[in-house]
Symmetry: C2
């Protein structure tokens, strides 16, 4: 490793073979020394889950390149990267680029965002990148300079306890109006369950569904993305500080 | 179902056979009509993960009792319960009692807390209960009246977007000093990785470790539990509101 060069960890949840992570890796190689540690297959919607009581394998993909495929969750990848693979604590962790939205409530399910959050817990500045298209091949090229610039900015910042959740709207790049730093907008999945098998006392379902969001509230990622802005939501690791605790003190009288 | 009786969903991540969920079910049966929908085996540390692209089975344990074992994650259990099992949206969801701490950063990994949060996303008042002991058999009995009373309070409240994360200290009940409504304290897992198998270019690890927390900050769950209080942390579904967005507006200039 060259002295003084930033050390960057690249992770995702779509798996080490996805287009998004390989595109992100190439940009990071222009900034610093890069290690890729990612799931060996798609592990979308793994959220902040980790593997207990089972072993996790980690495989170097090529002896000359620092790419590692992991049998565990996105969060397992980060834990192994920081403790067993990288030569020191990295200067930045970037996760993605996810194929699909992590706006609104989707971030709660996302392994991509939570991998970045896990790095942030360990004190590493962290960004999660997602594109609203769910296609396996996406034209990421126009976003290169934005990704490069925002990564360099966050690399130099001290935003302790904050992970940046960045989403790109699925519109032609020429129509993108700019960037909004904003809040997580409200949303919910209206699930549909396909009954795939039925036995006595037992049923088997496949979960699908449709994402419903409130896009009217200005200052939210839903609004920004609907109006062709890139959204940046700073996610706090300690999701409580905005609540008025005094209003809830009456619960202390229950005991 | 009797008219006017509350409908209550009971979930957990330790599995349908754990002592904690069966204890919680008994108390809830004193309050309303109860459905138990829980993982068929231990799924601790599954966080907010859900199952995509694989079917999930749901099995009625006994034709006369509303207990259902599910092959999916704790969040899958809640989604299936609300959409496919319960006769209507429940009036309350309680999760646990978890065998082990969900204080501090542990809540982020916890399937117990996130099952309650998933119900809350769907508009259901929700509480997660955890005991700091990791034993499979715990003396929960002294907590009965507190659990009954706090559940009745939350059942009647309107705290939209807030899930209550309640932890019991692992001390003799007579030493418990009361209840604190508080914030999530800071903490981190210092992991240890046991190398269980080594091949060319591939290693297999088991994750273990030790939880390190800052217990000095009054007004946090770490402080409350260390000082023999029951902790109640209101968790916000939208973990961003406490961040000063204006300070981060410079990132909008990157584009």
């Amino acid at each position: 490793m060259k002295k003084g060069k930033p050390l960057i960890l690249v992770v995702n949840d779509d798996g080490i073979d996805s287009q998004g992570i390989n595109f992100l890796k190439k940009i990071m190689c222009q900034i610093g020394d890069v290690y890729v540690v990612a799931p060996d297959t798609n592990r979308s919607a793994y959220s902040h889950s980790m593997t207990l009581n089972n072993s996790i394998s980690i495989k170097k993909m090529n002896k000359n390149v620092n790419d590692f495929a992991c049998s565990g969750t996105p969060v397992d990848c980060v834990k192994l990267a920081l403790n067993k693979i990288l030569p020191r604590t990295p200067d930045l962790c970037v996760s993605g680029i996810n194929h699909g939205s992590n706006q609104s409530i989707n971030g709660l399910y996302s392994g991509t965002l939570h991998a970045a959050m896990e790095a942030n817990i360990q004190g590493v500045p962290a960004i999660s990148f997602s594109h609203l298209s769910y296609e396996t091949i996406i034209n990421f090229t126009p976003f290169s300079s934005f990704i490069y610039d925002v990564s360099k900015k966050v690399l130099g910042d001290s935003n302790e306890g904050v992970t940046f959740n960045i989403n790109f709207p699925d519109v032609p790049f020429k129509d993108i109006k700019g960037v909004k730093v904003c809040l997580t907008g409200q949303g919910v999945w209206k699930e549909k369950f396909e009954l795939v098998k039925k036995e006595k006392f037992e049923k088997h379902f496949l979960i699908g569904g449709e994402f419903k969001s409130n896009n009217n509230l200005i200052n939210t990622d839903n609004w920004a993305l609907t109006n062709n802005f890139i959204s940046i939501v700073p996610v706090n690791l300690y999701p409580h500080l905005s609540i008025n605790l005094d209003k809830l003190k009456y619960l202390e009288n229950v005991f």
